[in-house]
Amino acid sequence: MGALAVYAQAPVVENVTVSATVDGVVVNPGGGGGGGGGGGGGTGLYENAGVFFSGRAYPLSKVSILKDGQLVLSTIAGPDSNFSANLGDLSSGNYTFSLYGEDKNKIRSSTFTFDIFITSGVTTKITGIFIAPTIATDKRQVKKGDNIVIFGQSAQAADIVISVNSPVEFFRNTTTDMNGVYLLNFDTSVLELGQHSTKSKALKSGEASSFSNSAGFMVGLTNLETEPVIKLVKCDLNDDGRCNLIDFSIAAFWYKINLSPAFLIKERNHLSGDGKVDLVDFSIMAFYWTG
């Protein structure tokens, strides 16, 4: 058995700024103090690495952080929407980190994912994360000419750009209040009958989030309210409101084999609906993954 060692090393900090609007990462090596340290592993000596995350979510909202697809920590953003979190005990290597927010109505944001190489013995700072807004509508079908309410949550006092998809894309602007809530009454007289979708993004202090998930609605001849309970449908094979390794394992059990009648229904409701489990179903899972 290897002896336990305590390292006394020079503090090493690496700053990384991740912008939700720019692909990839910008690395600014060097930086101030802090960080450092490390310890011995159970099977040998190695220098641990760590990651520090910071950015904007929604006031007092829960922010979840996934490391290589596994939920490793959750934190609560402050009243000013800002959040930060530390993750330690990492080896040197490639990592995929994903972050998403959850608003006061338990609606999850789109997932912001990036991969990065973590260096042994270095604390990597990832700043400038801007969680995309959440979005929902008050109706799943709206009578043409009536208003549909598009709402969600983002950082407080942020500018929100809402896109409504149709043959011509309509853009509208609004702002969030001190609780990060935004709401827009959209006049559907400009939309054609049929299926439409809407999405939003936030801008604040010169930074922009990526676009939110899309919320779909139909323009028809009558109004139909949106069901009050918002539940993850895609991927969630065991109906626990999450998409994670349990759902992956259930799907993997049926991979490339004939599905039972009971699982055929699950596959139709939660996966691609083609009556078999293949890579397409796993891709759908990877998109809706919550960890």
Partner: protein
């Protein structure tokens, strides 16, 4: 316009037509340090993906190799960008390695490492490793397939035994696998609704070798059995702690404990002995007292 210039013009038109299409296609390729191998030599070939403009979250395919020239030794998925393997890279047929996996949230960019393959050269000749049945899917919630250009890898195996610089393929890995988070669940579609545990660890060095599981009330030093996720629990009452060891290919391990969900309260032997002693004393005292009061 003569025949030559017409031909050139048509090629140019075709190229201009294809150019925008190719910019959307991904590219998968193999890389190795050496372009020539020697009989008896082991060498590493690494698989990379260029996703170009797209975010990718799922990939599967096969790599075919001539088994009369090469022996497949092992796959190395340590430090891969693939988070969960549906099928770990492994030999599925003679001269054929299959793989299939996903990365939640997707990834995008060039030279994204997927995994490595170690081969041993056994006969001289020109050899090609080629991809087949390849599927690369977009991170769009629909599983849209991306046009992917597979680039084969060709090299020569020299007959000169023992000649050449033999690559040192030893991985120095003193670090245990990353911390992982097993989950207990039950579902009618798996193990007839019995409780099972799911787990998946990642090792950035040599890669995961396997897992062992112990269900015990006596601590982490019980009997461990080789296990795969999902693992049906023997103790369906969930009264025992579950200990899961993820072991990497260098022998390092990470032990994770799941506390019993319905623990039976066990007392230490000395406490049990003490309680029995007190009961005995009370019994003797009662006997003596009753004899005393009868007088």
């Amino acid at each position: 316009m003569n025949l030559f210039s017409i031909k050139n013009f048509l090629v140019l038109v075709l190229l201009l037509y294809l150019l925008p299409m190719t910019s959307f296609s991904a590219e998968i390729f193999l890389e190795s340090k050496n372009t020539t191998s020697y009989v008896g030599e082991e060498f590493l070939v690494e698989v990379f993906l260029n996703t170009k403009d797209a975010s990718v979250n799922a990939i599967e395919g096969k790599i075919k190799f001539p088994s009369q020239f090469l022996d497949f030794k092992e796959a190395r998925e340590g430090n891969s960008l693939i988070n969960f393997w549906v099928e770990k890279p492994s030999l599925t047929n003679d001269g054929e390695v299959s793989f299939s996996g996903i990365t939640p949230g997707g990834f995008q960019g060039s030279n994204k490492f997927l995994f490595g393959l170690v081969f041993s050269s056994k006969n001289p000749g020109n050899v090609a490793l080629v991809f087949s049945d390849l599927k690369v899917l977009k991170n769009d919630g629909l599983g849209t397939e991306i046009i992917t250009t597979p680039l084969s890898y060709e090299f020569n195996i020299s007959n000169e035994q023992g000649v050449g610089t033999f690559e040192n393929l030893t991985i120095v890995d003193n670090e245990p696998p990353e911390e992982f988070f097993p989950l207990i669940a039950s579902d009618l579609n798996l193990f007839d609704g019995k409780y099972f545990v799911v787990f998946s660890a990642i090792d950035k060095g040599s890669g995961i070798y396997g897992y062992t599981v112990s269900e015990s009330m006596l601590g982490p030093n019980g009997v461990y059995l080789a296990a795969e996720s999902p693992y049906m629990l023997k103790d369906q009452s969930l009264s025992k702690n579950i200990y899961i060891k993820a072991i990497d290919k260098s022998g390092n391990f990470r032990l994770v404990t799941l506390d019993a969900q319905n623990p039976i309260i066990w007392l230490k032997p000395d406490i049990i002995f003490g309680i029995i002693l007190v009961i005995l004393c009370l019994f003797v005292f009662k006997k003596i007292w009753s004899k005393y009061t009868q007088r």
